[in-house]
Symmetry: C2
Subunit: 334 residues, 2 copies
């Protein structure tokens, strides 16, 4: 049996290029004591992975050059040297970007097999880290409460679409989203139930936001940074909160871009901007599953996936996320 | 008796010019029922007043054109038509920029006469709104706690010098300040007990801060904005907090200046930037006086005043605060 895995060969400068990576063949690993051998079925691709491709110290260690990259994955256990996990079980773990992985049992979480009507890939998205990111950032970092008006950027993305829907389900007075195509904007309003949405490519963000939120916003969930953040600060109501989940607009800059010009507005509004990482909020996972799980099961909370097939398309899928090609969570099916 | 008072004639564009203002003579007002007539002894001049000279809606209403401006003042009651306040009492109120004021008793707070060794002017500064600004911003907005390292800009100013000293007295691991002259820098270290200080005009703020705080900072108290804020974000430790009290560097800009280029660092540090206004924190006043009063009385907390004499120099004193001419709280003595 042959294992294929994606290596990082050189650290991208600006936009990642195909020659920075290689799909390499290697032997299927042999699980050690306490490990399980997993045949991956779905691999996650996420914007944060761009950060780990750089050498700079970030919240996660940089990927090592000449070695296989990492990321979320779900797969089937085909061999077990650990108690409590049997061949045939499905597990969630962090050894993506490859076909086979030997995983310490303590780093593998058993998940449903998809038999209950929840597809396996959902554990990489709506019921996984993506969903918890939306939930924790909205409720804990941004202190969202019933009656707040909310703006979320990257709203058609995996995190953004959940942020807006969870806010609606929890009593937001108004939910506004921005996205990068008219198709996505329609999706936000027609399928996800946003009160308003706009295509940020159609005009200045600040102006479009003012029209969509004439009474201002109480919470901004930032996936984008740049113009979006400046516009949100400009529309922030008194006591407004900004949760910074990501700043996809700046990740590939080789020169740092100027920040918002209106930060002094934080004084008069008593506004707050705060960054967060989902890893600090795993304690919310039980509460999250308890509250959001039924919404997913009942269809009250909708989600989409963009599925790309084949390990050989893993890199292209990742680049697609950076470009915004995906609608909802992007996964690679093996 | 003639009253002299400063009027705003036109809204300054950029740096305020003398012709935007006029010192006008008017009759001494007659106190109505429930009012007291106060002969002002000290007038406060503060950077925030620049905001009220503009038409834009801010946290305080704009000054009206052709009318007398406002600001903190302490003076002696020379006539009373209110119960509980007698001629000879000294009161703190908000009708500065003039020699005489008729003040509703409910808007006047009785203060010591200076007989206990605390000069009357202190009620405009170290024991007044200035001191509470430092205290509330540091403890409540920035959640300062024992062991934190602190950076404060405008550190030789009225608020900044108190921020640094209160942090030291409450167990900061390291207190760093920036100021605009070598003389002020010496004052910070030699008199106020800062662990390190630098002159921001002597080199890039980010570099000087990194040298002064090689282990980073947990709290930044921002009086300045601009380069200082970007430098602070760059040196922010995990879980760091920024309290935005003022952004004096941007108040006179006619074009908005670009903001910090490194806001994405808030994600990895889980950093927080939050604006505040002292008016939201008057509930802390008793706790503040109880804790800081004894430090002032014992000399553990030092302060300086820059005193300018004469109502005719009130405008120049205000411009001096914007230029940074003052060391400590700037007041006008009548």
């Amino acid at each position: 049996m042959i294992n294929r895995e994606w290596h990082l060969l050189s650290r991208p400068v600006g936009w990642p290029k195909p020659e920075d990576f290689a799909l390499v063949e290697s032997p299927v690993p042999t699980p050690g004591e306490g490990q399980v051998l997993v045949r991956n079925k779905y691999l996650s691709v996420d914007p944060y992975m761009r950060g780990r491709m750089s050498a700079a110290k970030s919240y996660a260690a940089p990927f090592e050059l000449g070695k296989v990259m990492q990321g979320g994955a779900v797969g089937e256990v085909i061999e077990s040297k650990a108690e409590g996990i049997e061949p045939g079980d499905h597990v969630l773990h962090f050894f993506g970007w490859r076909e086979y992985a030997a995983v310490d049992a303590k780093n593998a979480v058993k998940v449903g097999t998809g038999a209950e009507g929840v597809p396996l890939s959902a554990y990489l998205g709506v019921l996984g880290m993506t969903g918890l990111t939306a939930y924790a950032g909205l409720l804990r970092t941004a202190s969202f409460k019933e009656g707040d008006s909310l703006f979320v950027s990257g709203a058609a993305g995996a995190v953004g679409s959940q942020v807006g829907q969870i806010a609606k389900l929890k009593g937001a007075s108004r939910v506004i989203g921005s996205a990068g195509s008219d198709e996505k904007v329609r999706l936000l309003v027609d399928e996800y139930g946003f009160d308003a949405a706009f295509n940020y490519k159609n005009g200045p963000v600040a102006e479009q936001l003012r029209q969509a939120a004439p009474d201002g916003i109480d919470v901004y969930f930032d996936n984008v940074g740049g113009d979006h953040l400046e516009a949100a600060i400009g529309s922030l109501n008194q006591g407004g909160r900004v949760a910074v989940c990501g700043m996809i607009s700046v990740y590939n800059n080789t020169e740092p871009a100027p920040g918002p010009r209106n930060l002094a507005r934080l004084i008069q509004t008593r506004g707050r901007i705060e960054g967060f990482l989902v890893g600090d909020h795993y304690d919310l996972q039980p509460q999250f599953v308890q509250e959001v799980g039924p919404w997913v099961a009942s269809g009250a909370l909708k989600y989409r996936e963009t599925v790309v097939e084949g390990i050989e398309n893993n890199l292209e899928a990742f680049l697609g996320v950076l470009r915004g090609d995906n609608i909802g969570k992007m996964v690679v099916k093996l």
